[in-house]
Symmetry: C2
Subunit: 303 residues, 2 copies
């Protein structure tokens, strides 16, 4: 039996953020921190990533305290990946003010033996060559491969991004990325192209507008949660992917019904994340809170 | 008994359009053409507006052929309002290439006596002073006042826009306009401000992302329909408002349930409109088509 259910690949980072609701300096960030914490509500989760020797012990302890396995996180000499970003009125698209790769520059992901039988892998927002490397290091093809990406990789290494999409069961990306990757104004067309590449499901995240899933002849739309304040949307997409991975790893079969439930749970966890800077709010919620908001989603769409 | 159920106020126009899917020159446009046709699926509808002597007879005949009352449309010497716009990959926001006001420049709306007892008025996208003028000309306060606006009026005559919102039962606007009108990044906060101004319901249109309604303690989110091709989104917001007006005019009581149904019908009619240039597709659909797609919306949100 695998030591973990879900392998999450992605950077751990320190972020400095400015949003219409305030500022935060040098806080915990990175796709894998958000995705692993979200997955950990549902399943035993391990991270493959890297930190520098400036990575605060409190973050390491917080992650371990949630039962997240950190054997796959390399501690390297140097600085942790740093991202500085600013969100304006349109909270869906941050402006990157500064990126310092630090130890991420020479990172080569190494999957520990104890992760190699994980049933689900979530390939978070990082270089697609790392996605491919992790897939290749697994003992066998996992039950489910979920991949995410971002505009930077589509601009710079599109062919590799497409290779990852082709190998994924669930290709996850946001609406702008889907348009960019397939050079089409139509999300519908982009999703059809994802499905034609062997991905069984295309899930398009739309920030505050929720998310949609295309899979064969079925289409699902989940609303966004009506947040009074989007304090900090950083990591919401990662929470979304992590929740999908964690919840789906516990399901005997990946049916349309199960996927719809997973997407609403993913929207739920992401919405909590947006209500605080960094992990502030994510660290406060528990399963009853998630289930309570999940039930609200049902009322939101009823007609 | 009133001769019409729904009074639609708004420009009739000739549009030249360019979208990623093609071009159209000098086609029928204007908020009231889209809104009145949409309303006419459900209710007897009349237009208050103006055309120049270049307005093609075929458009006049098409509108009359749908049973739309045109007594409120002034035929003036001069050119019909002309708008030239272009849509890029982001189909939600057109770029205005040219606007020629023509006869609209000196337009003063005159409500015919036979319209003055209409139970519902839809104040389409036009100068808010015209909105206020039409409200004042009615014999008594209609059962329901639905108002729409656009960024141009918010920038130029914000106080009047707010006065119209205050007088409306349903304030309709898109998400960017709501943010602009109340100077907040949060749709939630903008909607609360609309409700605090006496509007009973704030309905925010989000283009391809659907629409949401805030009213007191209830929140509803309707998805967008997954269109393969958004051939021409011009008029979709007007179709949305017109459908609301037409459907709601036939309901004995405006309950939360009735409003939710109205919003999904409005999304349905708008989605058909986006599938063709100008009125091309809108003119082809009928109630069975609307009901068929309405039923699809139910499956889209099911979880």
């Amino acid at each position: 039996m695998a030591k973990i259910d879900v392998l999450v690949l992605g950077p751990l980072a320190l972020d400095s953020l400015e949003t219409p609701f305030g500022k935060a300096e040098n806080v915990l960030g990175g796709a894998s921190s958000y995705a692993a914490v979200s997955s950990s509500f549902f399943a035993k989760t391990g991270i493959v990533g890297i930190v520098g020797n400036d990575f605060p012990e409190e973050h390491w302890n917080m992650l371990e305290g949630r039962g997240i396995d950190l054997e796959g996180v390399e501690k390297a000499d140097g600085k942790t990946f740093f991202w500085k970003g600013k969100y304006g009125f349109d909270v869906n698209t941050p402006e990157t003010l500064e990126t310092r790769l630090g130890v991420l520059e020479h990172f080569k992901p190494v999957v520990p033996d104890s992760y190699k039988d994980a049933s689900v892998i979530f390939l978070g927002n990082t270089a697609p060559e790392h996605h491919l490397s992790v897939i290749n290091q697994m003992n066998k093809r996992p039950k489910l491969i979920i991949s995410d990406t971002m505009n930077y990789w589509i601009s710079s290494v599109k062919e590799q991004v497409l290779e990852v999409v082709q190998k994924s069961d669930i290709a996850l990306m946001n609406d702008g990325e889907a348009r960019q990757l397939f050079e089409t104004p139509s999300i519908y067309s982009a999703a059809q192209k994802i499905l034609a590449m062997d991905s069984k499901h295309a899930i398009i995240k739309k920030g505050e507008h929720g998310a949609v899933m295309y899979s064969g002849d079925t289409y699902f739309s989940a609303p966004g949660y009506p947040l009074e304040k989007v304090v900090d949307p950083t990591g919401c997409g990662d929470c979304f992917g992590g929740t999908l991975a964690g919840y789906l790893s516990q399901q005997p079969e990946i049916t349309d019904h199960v996927l719809r439930k997973a997407i609403v749970l993913a929207s739920t966890v992401s919405s909590f994340n947006a209500e605080g800077f960094s992990h502030d709010n994510l660290s406060k919620i528990d399963m009853p809170a998630i289930e309570g908001r999940y039930a609200e989603f049902r009322k939101i769409v009823e007609f």
